[in-house]
């Protein structure tokens, strides 16, 4: 990476820089004109000085003032103009003024836009290059860097570069030019004064950078400490469970407070020095006029200098500080940015970067690996000099099933990583057939070798996308665009190229269906289900599916299937033995297994408008309840519930789990209800204030007759609640209607889960094993209709969360295994990849995976030597060396292996 920011900028943007410079120079002409016109308007247009001697004056006569040595008149005429009398002249000049101002503004706008675009392009290029380098970092480097620091550098630290890059060359050229002109003018007036000005500038140029040196050091420290702070915050987030479980939060607080204190010190120091530098700078700037007065005055009094010259020099000097000051500012910014750039660039060039050719995009499918895997004297030495693998040599056909056994840390784990090329041998070679493994592009190893370790990283996307992730090595099917979108895409690509970014399109279909053994998007799910079965994850995904929701518009086929399952389930529920398990939704009947809120709504809330927290206060609901005269009854129910709750939970300690599990009232709200009830004693609810009434009225909405059994809803009340249900639905405004998906026997409910859609009712409370029996029944129904696949398909959409944290460890590992299996690799390398599974499951999954990989190579580092009998060959590794090797049947005589077997 280029060390010098200016060289970097020049290499990638000289063309644009020159264009901007040219624009800036041209703009000066118009700028100057817009400044000189007002003078002409006042003098000639209004006061009519010129018209005192002649009646017509030429308009649009353009002259530029130049130093006297270029022209004796002090100006250069570029265009002679049109003759006009005073009034038209005034009009014309005023209009010209307006035109000039506009042109000037447009130049400014264009220049700024050009600069901005240039800066953004360069920023994009730089960010991309930095990210690109992360992908090429040697794997050992990731032990030393923190993710948050890398992302902070790419995101924040290089950001100011974007603003600077546009000015990097233009600003000094332009300002320097201005300053030099003014200086030249002063020199022409008086060599002495000129020399004084130059001397003061030289002092400035000498002293200020020296003052800045410390500022630069502080700036670097500020950057480093801020970056480390970001790293520490990320550490807290990553290790939050350990912080909680060890109760060390205050230690963390202490550390962060310490860091913030250091950062404060650095920043404050920085400000102080910055303002000191500024002060000195201003002082030096003011010293010049002081010297001009003093020495100029002396020269006038005792020498041969004219007063006019001193005034001229002073005037010229007045124009000098502006550009000089800005130059100094520019220089400060330059140092700041240069230092940031160097700081970042330094972090992005570790030793041993991968050659980019290893990651080149392949043209098409890669050919399979074949031949023998040959390890010759492979040694892996880590930073500390230890050798987890020490001189391992072996030859084995790639299609074999190889079990690596041995004690933990004996080398089997590292050997799998060497064979998957995650670790490069320090000494020795690994060859497959006649190619050196280290020379194979990643797209080849990625396609033909699959590695699954104990830790599986899952991306925060769906289960399906995580499993298919391993198939995305090149765009396979280009995205389809209509004309307008394609033009947009072409523009996008052109801009990408200008910023040195690749023109790869993430919207293309990158999934290598062929490698997965599928023909296309249509049957890839079939393959996914196959591998899910092999790793025993299909059942879990099925349950995700049942709990998932779908967009019925986008997947009409699934929605239709679910409606079929609903019909079938309800046909079965007609059986008297099962009828008591589910209370179906029926618009004409009150459902005792639903809350009052759900009964009134008779649908699924789509958003927060009608969710249990908000429904009681909803104006439409209140209006409907008022219309059927239920408000008072609900209030009475609220009183009854509050009384019961206060009675039951009165002497339970706050925080008792019963509150959360059973109570309508949170523990902290209980005293408030007790107060309300005591105020109510002997009085009517009408006497309560509005707030108290609202609190009480909200209680019954969560009441479920079959569950809470307070006997609040009798047949008559059921009838009135049904009337309220009708009243609510009838008068619902269109906007509110969008917030509910009403239950309809013949329609799919997109807001509800698949399971709720199939069930179309509620599981009855108090039926022994009701949920399990209903679950089994649903499963049976789906099986019978061959709809299980459709549910699994929905389950595959389940988002696994950040780093897969929405899945338990065992499921994460299974997704990792599925990701490796779906590629159908020539060589599947597993490093204790079933560690999170229980013993029996480990054995089953191992058998299924070996079965799925029939005819292809498997290398498996086993924790339990007893499983080795399923493999073609066993290799025992101890202390980084192969101590025994052979078919499982021939290993009986080996003492090490026997010990491992005995250990389980």
């Amino acid at each position: 990476m280029e060390k010098n920011l200016f060289k970097y900028i020049w290499r990638h943007s000289r063309h644009d820089q020159l264009i901007i410079l040219f624009l800036v120079i041209v703009a000066q002409v118009f700028y100057f004109a817009s400044l000189s016109i007002p003078k002409t308007i006042v003098n000639d247009g209004i006061e009519g000085k010129v018209f005192k001697t002649i009646s017509e004056v030429s308009f649009l006569r353009v002259s530029v003032p130049v130093p006297s040595f270029l022209s004796s008149s002090g100006s250069l005429t570029l265009f002679d103009g049109i003759s006009l009398t005073q009034w038209p002249y005034l009009v014309a000049m005023s209009c010209l003024f307006l035109v000039m101002v506009t042109v000037n503004g447009m130049f400014k706008k264009t220049i700024n836009t050009q600069k901005g675009r240039l800066g953004e392009r360069m920023l994009r290029r730089l960010r991309y290059e930095l990210y690109d380098r992360i992908l090429l970092f040697p794997s050992a480097h990731f032990r030393k860097v923190k993710a948050a620091e890398l992302s902070g550098m790419i995101k924040d630290e290089v950001e100011p570069l974007g603003g600077f890059i546009g000015d990097a060359y233009v600003q000094p050229a332009f300002l320097g030019g201005q300053a030099l002109t003014a200086l030249l003018f002063i020199m022409l007036q008086s060599i002495w004064l000129g020399l004084i000005v130059i001397a003061v500038l030289a002092v400035q140029a000498f002293v200020i950078p020296r003052l800045r040196r410390r500022i630069l050091v502080l700036g670097r420290e500020r950057q480093l400490t801020a970056r480390q702070l970001a790293g520490r915050i990320a550490e807290t987030v990553d290790g939050v469970h350990d912080v909680h479980s060890h109760g060390t939060s205050n230690y963390e607080r202490a550390d962060i407070a310490q860091r913030l204190g250091t950062i404060y010190q650095i920043r404050f120091d920085l400000f102080q020095r910055k303002f000191t530098a500024k002060f000195l700078n201003n002082l030096l700037a003011q010293i010049t006029p002081f010297m001009i007065y003093l020495i100029g005055g002396y020269l006038v009094l005792f020498g041969d200098m004219q007063v006019g010259s001193v005034v001229g020099v002073l005037l010229a000097y007045k124009d000098l500080p502006g550009p000089v000051k800005e130059l100094i500012d520019w220089d400060q910014q330059r140092q700041d940015v240069q230092q940031k750039y160097e700081q970042v660039a330094e972090q992005f060039q570790p030793e041993g970067m991968l050659p980019p050719a290893l990651q080149a995009l392949p043209d098409g499918p890669v050919s399979p690996l074949s031949g023998d895997i040959v390890l010759t004297g492979v040694t892996v030495a880590d930073d500390g000099g230890a050798k987890p693998i020490d001189g391992v040599s072996l030859v084995t056909p790639i299609g074999r099933r190889l079990a690596l056994v041995g004690p933990q840390g004996g080398g089997k784990e590292v050997l799998t990583q060497v064979m998957a090329r995650l670790i490069r041998p320090s000494v020795g070679t690994v060859r497959i057939g006649d190619v050196d493994l280290s020379s194979l592009p990643e797209t080849v190893t990625g396609a033909r070798i699959a590695y699954v370790g104990q830790d599986v990283y899952l991306f925060p996307v769906s289960v399906r996308d995580n499993i298919l992730y391993g198939l995305k090595r090149r765009p396979v099917i280009p995205a389809v665009y209509d004309d307008a979108a394609r033009r947009e895409r072409e523009r996008f690509v052109a801009e990408s190229r200008r910023a040195g970014n690749p023109d790869l399109n993430p919207a293309d279909d990158w999934i290598d269906y062929e490698a997965a053994g599928a023909t296309g998007p249509g049957d890839i799910d079939r393959r996914i289900v196959e591998v899910l079965r092999a790793v025993e994850l299909e059942e879990d995904i099925y349950h995700f599916g049942l709990r998932g929701t779908i967009d019925a518009m986008a997947r009409p086929r699934v929605a239709e299937s679910i409606l079929m399952a609903r019909d079938e389930l309800h046909a079965r529920l007609a059986d008297p033995a099962l009828a008591s398990l589910v209370e179906p939704f029926d618009r004409a009947r009150y459902n005792r297994n639903m809350s009052i809120a759900e009964n009134l709504l008779f649908g699924t809330p789509v958003d927060r408008t009608f969710d249990p927290d908000n429904i009681a206060a909803n104006p439409h609901m209140r209006e409907a309840l008022g219309r059927v005269g239920l408000e008072t009854d609900l209030l009475q129910m609220g009183v009854a519930i509050a009384e019961t709750m206060v009675e039951l939970f009165a002497d339970l300690p706050v925080g008792h789990p019963f509150f959360e599990q059973f109570s309508f009232i949170a523990a902290e709200d209980l005293p408030e209800f007790r107060t309300i009830l005591s105020r109510l004693a002997g009085k009517s609810v009408a006497d309560l204030d509005d707030a108290a009434r609202a609190r009480l009225a909200a209680l019954p909405f969560r009441y479920i007759e079959a569950r809470h059994r307070l006997g609040l809803i009798d047949a008559a009340m059921e009838g009135r609640l049904l009337a309220a249900r009708r009243a609510f639905a009838e008068n619902l405004p269109a906007a509110a209607a969008k917030a509910i998906e009403f239950y309809d026997r013949n329609l799919y409910n997109a807001a509800a889960t698949l399971q709720d859609n199939i069930l179309f009712g509620r599981i009855v409370y108090g039926q022994a094993q009701g949920p399990q029996r209903v679950g089994a029944l649903i499963s049976e129904v789906l099986e019978g209709l061959e709809l299980r696949g459709a549910v699994v398909e929905v389950g595959l959409d389940y988002n696994v969360g950040v780093a897969g944290k929405r899945l338990p460890a065992a499921q994460r590992q299974k997704v990792g295994l599925a990701r490796g299996l779906v590629k159908r690799p020539d060589l599947l390398v597993l490093n204790d990849a079933t560690a999170m599974l229980d013993g029996a499951a480990q054995q089953r999954v191992l058998d299924k995976i070996l079965d799925a990989c029939k005819g292809r190579g498997v290398v498996w580092a086993l924790n339990r030597a007893s499983l080795a009998d399923r493999f073609d060959q066993v290799i025992v590794l101890q202390g980084g060396k192969v101590t025994a090797s052979g078919a499982p049947g021939d290993m009986a005589g080996d003492k090490n292996f026997a010990d491992l077997l005995a250990a389980g």
Partner: protein
């Protein structure tokens, strides 16, 4: 059945007889009243237990696995209770209980059970009495088996 009716019913169950009505209401409210069909299992031998059951109506067989299949060792009727051993000693269920006829039972969660025993020694005494009866019964059966 509403909660108040349930409280009336619980009052007639011996182990709850000394407990004040307000507490009985809490028991009724926080415990599930479960209905079991004929042949359905209330609990299965070897499973982890997290609740105690009090039978409110119907009857159940207590079965223990043996090499020759399950053996019926006892019968539970109204007011009978079981499951306290698994939650007292944190051990798997020692027997399978299967509904002999349609049965309703109150399922008292572990948490509630400990609270009750701590607050109402009388209930603990009732449970001890029942356990003592069971040991006595067991001793008798053991003697008979050895004699045979």
């Amino acid at each position: 059945m509403s909660i108040n009716e349930e409280v009336e019913l619980l009052k007639t169950v011996p182990i709850f007889s000394k407990i004040e009505p307000a507490k009985l209401k809490l028991i009724a409210f926080t415990s599930d009243r479960m209905t079991f069909d004929v042949g359905q299992e209330l609990c299965h031998q070897g499973d982890i237990g997290d609740a105690m059951y009090v039978i409110l109506g119907g009857s159940a067989d207590v079965l223990i696995d043996s090499p020759n299949g399950p053996i019926k060792v006892a019968e539970l009727r109204r007011n009978g209770f079981f499951g306290e051993m698994a939650i007292l000693c944190d051990m798997p269920r020692t027997a399978t209980v299967k509904a002999h006829e349609k049965l309703t039972a109150l399922k008292i969660p572990k948490e509630m059970f400990f609270r009750l025993v701590a607050e109402f020694p009388q209930m603990a005494v009732e449970i001890m009495r029942e356990l003592a009866h069971r040991v006595e019964d067991m001793n008798g059966k053991l003697a008979a088996a050895q004699a045979a």
